[in-house]
């Protein structure tokens, strides 16, 4: 408890504690748990040609008999049909590559901003945040104009004489990588920047006093200390990219098979809400379970260290 609450009587302290803990839990319950339960319920239903297009989970049959129907076929189909596994693996792969690219590009940028002069820093941060003022969809559309075979990039390269025929970049996996890295780079830079500005410069001075060269000091001091920023940034990029739909749909080609797109097909083209919900549940499990395990591991390691 903080100093300000030390003088409060015990009852009030308990109340404020309850409110402090209760509000976020209420929020989580309302906006995460409740929707999750609804999706879970649909995922064990069966499709029906009705409004809404799935069967009810329970039904009152005569004489107070409650009939509950749980259909696990959707999960079995996801397990049995290898196209879903392929889509999951491909999505994870794309997310992994993009997270690494964002990290490689974003780290130097965040470092440069964090070490820039105070006045320049605001300007640089502004430049990172500014694209958010335009709709995400419009920005992805703009890439179509850039990557097209008649687009800006190809015209420029042709003009320079580097290539003699336009490169086919749009509608390939490369275009998806470009689009994703462009769109998610700020989510990597901002947490890294927040982390790097908080690092104590005295540590680097100490390293230098002890005869450590700048490059070595970076790898020995700055990089390990920025690990929380790296993890936060990577999670902010990795998690949404796994389920990304808009970018592969607009920039990707026929073979960029991703879970988000598959989910869209099941929901819209097939009107199969239960299977779409089951896919969403599996996606959540695929994302949440490793992160929970990782956090456990981290905690254990921290405890062991201290």
């Amino acid at each position: 408890m903080s100093q300000s609450t030390r003088h409060h009587p015990k009852g009030r302290r308990r109340l404020s504690r309850l409110v402090n803990i209760g509000v976020p839990y209420f929020w989580l319950g309302l906006f995460f748990l409740l929707p999750f339960m609804i999706v879970l319920q649909i995922s064990v239903a069966e499709t029906a040609l009705a409004q809404p297009p799935y069967t009810a989970l329970w039904e009152w049959v005569a004489d107070g008999l409650l009939q509950i129907q749980i259909n696990l076929q959707n999960f079995m189909l996801i397990w049995e049909d290898d196209i879903y596994l392929a889509a999951f693996l491909n999505s994870l792969w794309v997310a992994l590559i993009c997270t690494l690219l964002c990290l490689l590009l974003g780290y130097p940028m965040a470092y440069a901003i964090a070490t820039a002069a105070q006045r320049r820093r605001m300007l640089l941060l502004m430049l990172i945040v500014l694209p958010f003022w335009t709709s995400f969809l419009i920005r992805v559309y703009a890439w179509i104009g850039i990557l097209n075979s008649n687009g800006l990039l190809n015209s420029f390269l042709l003009w320079l004489g580097i290539i003699d025929a336009p490169l086919q970049i749009l509608h390939t996996q490369t275009a998806v990588y470009i689009g994703v890295v462009y769109s998610y780079l700020p989510f990597m830079i901002l947490p890294l920047y927040a982390n790097l500005t908080r690092l104590d410069p005295a540590l680097l001075e100490a390293a230098s006093d002890l005869g450590c060269r700048p490059l070595r000091a970076f790898f020995k001091v700055t990089l390990p200390l920025s690990k929380p920023g790296i993890i936060a940034g990577s999670m902010l990029v990795f998690i949404p990219v796994v389920g990304e739909f808009v970018i592969p749909d607009l920039l990707g080609g026929p073979s960029s098979l991703m879970v988000g797109k598959l989910l869209w097909t099941e929901f819209f083209s097939n009107q199969d809400w239960p299977l779409a919900s089951a896919l969403a549940i599996v996606l959540l499990a695929v994302l949440v379970v490793p992160f929970v395990l990782m956090q456990r591991l981290q905690q254990n390691m921290d405890e062991a260290a201290s």
């Binding site: 499709t47 040609l49 097209n148 008649n150 080609g253 929901f267 097939n270 009107q271």
Partner: protein, 367 residues
Amino acid sequence: MTKPFSALRFLAPLLMLGIASASAAEQQVHIYNWSDYFAEDTLPNFQERTGIRPVLDVYDSNEVLEAKLLAGSSGYDLIFPTARPFAARHIKAGLYQPLDKSKLPGLDKLDPEIMASLASSDPGNQYLVPYMWGTSGLGLNVDKVKAALGDDTKIDTWGLIFDPEKAAKLEGCGISLLDDPTEVFSAALAYLGKDPNSLAKADLDAASALIAGIHSHIRYFHSSQYITDLANGDICVAQGYSGDVLQAQERAKEANKGVAVTYRIPREGAALWTDVIAIPKDAPNPEAAHAFIAYLLDPRVIADVSDYVFYANPNTAATPMIDAALRNDPEIYPPPELRAKLFVPSERSDREIRTLNRLWTRLKANR
């Protein structure tokens, strides 16, 4: 059919309507239609004539419309789905209310052939009024196709896409297919000389093998991207909807960059589709919805829409009022011998649609 996402063209009338919304007690009719599917003055004239304020929302795929309808309480009075398989399925799910035909004079002017064809999924034409119809054929950049295949090549054939030799030569200038299993499979089956509506395993396997064989030559599968790309000369062969290809033609002319776009109905056969008007069961204002349908049945009104969207309409009284260039275009108003080659997509069960869609996902990903 699927329409391009061109925000400005549908925002302008919306803004105008917003300004006109000053008086409070007026009636409203909420319309959910494809983007770019009315003429520019269709809605303002309706308000002038009836005093009812039309409020327009737009979509660009039947699937989006269907998802809203199935979720319930969409709030729309009028919708414009494609007859098959969508409207047919919605009738079965009980999503529509029957039309009050006493409020719809002018129904008798509609093409009896099209009404008869609709009656097979809407017995007695109780729920649906046809709005526009068209075909799914080929959008071509003939100059580039001839440059790749020679001057005497036939251009009104699915072979441009499904013949691996031709497709390999056209790959460089760009081929696109619709992202729609029904359309692509029926085109492939027509090319193979089989029943385009067949769901027999042997036929589907043959069509799958055909599509897999040309997969590497296809630039993308998309249902509206091709409009812009044809107009800009980025692709040279597109499987596409008649009116959309003509829109591309118009845009190419406006841009004046030496790109000429042509629409052709392949002589092996092509799908004929009809977009219909229907009133959802939970429509807030069915009265006004009927008034709007009656307005669209006015030959002058619907002729103006056709002139703007480049699709044929089923109103026989409107045909003489349509721009001669459109009315006399055999690819838009096909003469009887060509019309005989068109086929109507047959109805399918949910299971069949899902099987086809999953087969499609697999094919697209080339697995």
